[in-house]
Symmetry: C2
Subunit: 210 residues, 2 copies
């Protein structure tokens, strides 16, 4: 039935050494993929960063693509959590502002994840097309309906709700994905994310006030 020889793949991820090595590979893969892109990254480089030999890395993951895929899957949950947390029972404007803040915190604390995602979408999301048109589209549709309801109730300014979501993504991720440019333009003596926090708070407060 199953043609794959048992000896060719590691047993289910249980032992401590397996956990440690898989984690080291994912950490190294994140560092390398996010700074070189999928094609620019090499297995040798990832293995070296993880302090493993290349064949040893391939003992834990069957291919370069598998490492990349595992990273994207891990990423997505954390990435969408802030949007999921949008609470129908909360105060509309404050809910959206809290979402903006959470998303900006993600960009500040996990810029490599942000760049990994950006790289993938830029290439047309060959590893994500299913999720984008599936879970993601559904989640946004759901939350977009909530926003529409709030607008109907006059508790939020009337806006195309999906574009409102886009604007939150664009503005927060920009500070992670284009960090090089942001820092070059601002010059020294700036804390980009702190300033962005205040600015985005102002922006969305003005935009959303009914």
């Amino acid at each position: 039935m199953d043609g794959t020889p048992e000896s060719a793949r590691p047993p289910a991820g249980r032992t401590r050494i397996q956990e440690r090595n898989r984690a080291a590979i994912l950490e190294a893969g994140l560092a390398v993929f996010s700074s070189l892109g999928f094609s620019g990254a090499t297995l040798d480089r990832i293995a070296r960063e993880a302090k493993l030999s290349k064949p040893n890395l391939l003992y834990y993951f069957p291919s370069k693509e598998a490492v990349h895929l595992a990273l994207l899957e891990n990423l997505l949950d954390a990435w969408l959590a802030p949007l999921r947390a949008l609470d129908p029972e909360g105060e509309p404007v404050e809910e959206v502002l809290a979402y903006v803040r959470r998303k900006l915190d993600l960009a500040r604390d996990f810029p490599r994840e942000s760049r990994l995602f950006a790289n993938e979408v830029l290439r047309g999301a060959p590893h994500l097309s299913g999720v984008l048109g599936g879970d993601l589209a559904q989640l946004v549709a759901e939350k977009s309906a909530l926003l529409d309801r709030w607008m109907d109730e006059g508790r939020l300014a009337r806006l195309p709700s999906k574009h409102l979501v886009f604007s939150i993504w664009a503005l927060t991720q920009h500070y992670a994905d284009f960090e090089t440019q942001v820092r070059a333009v601002l010059g020294e003596g700036h804390d980009p994310f702190a300033e962005a926090g205040e600015f985005l708070d102002t922006l969305f407060r003005r935009l959303l006030a009914p």
Copy 2:
């Protein structure tokens, strides 16, 4: 004095055939680099797209990097033109809104250029570091000063002007760079750029009104 043998490089770009082939290579390079990234792109692929043999391509450009560099240089002028056009004599709010519109038009009409640029900045802008910290930073500083002046005069809402510029870049380029995601979320029957035009007009009008 000049160690480079004259026969090794094409004579100055004059003849019609030179012009045609250099243009074909740049067009092909733009298509390939913007969709595969620098490392993912191959000379064979670019040459095939340009309908040239690989050695023939290398007759016009000395290396893969040279093609990439030429593209980025061509790009920058067009990319910064809308910001340059911000007119100190104009009506502040309308000037900024016109800038937003021009930038969105660029994203709509030249999405490949936008993605090429995004790819480069994402990697830390190894081919652009000079420009980012030089011409770009200077241009933004200049226009940022103009925005500050308008704010001082009470003709524009008080905002951190450089972050205002970032927000314009982020919101317009998002529709080109993340087009895959935008289309997946919106579903069919939408014109992303047309909707974005209206939305961004509203957004910045509310944000900027004194």
